[in-house]
Subunit: 277 residues, 2 copies
């Protein structure tokens, strides 16, 4: 009770339980062992469930929480839940905490602090990327690109740098690329020659550029095989796509670094080249 139990992290809680274990009564010791062994059950279960699985009456569970300085089971459960969210989304939590603490301080506005913030954000974006992209999708995408006569690239607005970069790399590798950039008129005309023998790589993040949303379905309807890189399964370039890469947690347009999509398209291009031999 020497610490405000509400603000405890999961690891701190483990330490506290281990430390007090000897001083607890028999039943409470039994519960202590159970919760350390089954943290997930505690995080998601009800008092009754935890009680049954650990073989004690429900009231004992509540007494256990009290003994640790919590106001009740629900309060203790929050700590166990924090472990779950930390495990699945390291980026989200870290980013939020960072933003909150730095954004408003004077130090946080200095360019050096801004840079380190973007760097760490980019780091977690990369971790998320490598976790969320599966081999199956990459293989399918590579196969599509390998068969394509011309590769059409569609990425406007904030996604344009990614499209440009992919165009650059693919051309370096000797592929025929048509970059749909809308220069000098209609994007529709630029894409007019695309057929089922070609392929389209579409890149779009919120807010989805209107031209992208308009052109994409047309090409899909014409039977052009399509690879989509986007931030949500609900984006306008998902339906009808042959392969979808979903990059989650993209920050708002002005703040995004494009690190993850840049890395992905790079891997696509190089992977295509290596697979060709």
């Amino acid at each position: 009770m020497n610490k405000a139990a509400g603000a405890m992290s999961y690891d701190e809680l483990r330490g506290a339980i281990a430390q007090r274990h000897r001083a607890l009564s028999g039943r409470l010791q039994q519960i202590a062992e159970f919760v350390l062994d089954h943290p997930t059950d505690v995080a998601l279960g009800t008092v009754a469930e935890v009680a049954q699985r650990s073989g004690v009456p429900p009231s004992a569970i509540v007494r256990f929480a009290h003994a640790l300085g919590f106001g009740g089971f629900t309060e203790m459960q929050q700590v166990f839940r924090s472990r779950l969210v930390a495990g699945v989304a390291p980026s989200y939590k870290a980013r939020l905490a960072r933003m909150k603490s730095q954004e408003k301080s004077v130090l946080g506005r200095q360019p050096a602090a801004v840079l380190s913030r973007f760097v760490s954000e980019a780091q977690s974006a990369l971790v998320t990327l490598s976790q969320s992209v599966h081999a199956r999708e990459l293989d399918a995408a590579t196969a599509i690109l390998a068969k394509a006569r011309d590769i059409y690239l569609l990425g406007l607005g904030g996604s344009f740098p990614v499209a440009i970069h992919l165009a650059y790399v693919l051309r370096k590798l000797g592929r025929r690329v048509v970059l749909l950039d809308g220069t000098g008129g209609s994007i529709h005309e630029q894409s007019h020659a695309a057929t089922t023998e070609d392929a389209l790589v579409a890149i779009s993040f919120r807010n989805y550029y209107p031209d992208t949303a308009r052109l994409f379905p047309e090409l899909v309807a014409r039977g052009v095989p399509t690879i989509s890189i986007t931030d949500s399964l609900l984006s306008p370039i998902v339906e009808g796509a042959s392969v979808v890469f979903e990059i989650q947690d993209m920050p708002e347009p002005a703040l995004r670094t494009l690190v993850a999509p840049m890395c992905l398209v790079q891997a696509l291009a190089i992977g295509l080249d290596l697979a060709a031999d």
Copy 2:
């Protein structure tokens, strides 16, 4: 409802939501977007909490679950919880080990291995970036940009995506930007109006694009304050520059991910914006 919703995995559920999204009513679409973006909130929250955060009445949440074939919110929540449980199981170390082993295996040419290689390369590029860029340079660069009437951006060839991205962000923040891209003729003409009141951000990596090497000294000679982002102190855009950011260890053109320079320009732009207030 073609599938027993109870036995659905999280990924299957995501697919199902994406697939039916268009067929759903307005409110239900809104909820679909929220739950795909905030799966953790759904996994751990109550109906009332999810309802409040997504800005809909609680009953709509339940109707959403029904529309997906679940018996109610609680049933749907189980699927979101399974994601959390799965997330903790494979430890961080195990994931890292898997990446390492993939890297060196015979299958190193498979797209998935290529991606993980680029990801880890990008990671170390970011570390190098944050170590090699110093606060003094960032402050100086920010000061130059803050005083500039128009900001000229010069980045051709492989660096073009970086220039485009910087242009995009700066414009979003309300800055006047001239992107020297050479469309429709001479880059010299595009840069003709640049004066000592303006500023130039030049980005160039090996092999240095000829036009960049030619134009840069001209602008320097005209007294335009200049920020250079490059990979060597011997590059043609170093001499005469007001501030130089040297990004070391850039891979060869076709293999570079541009992660480090993208991050840097992002930090410059946002740092400029934050310092302005």
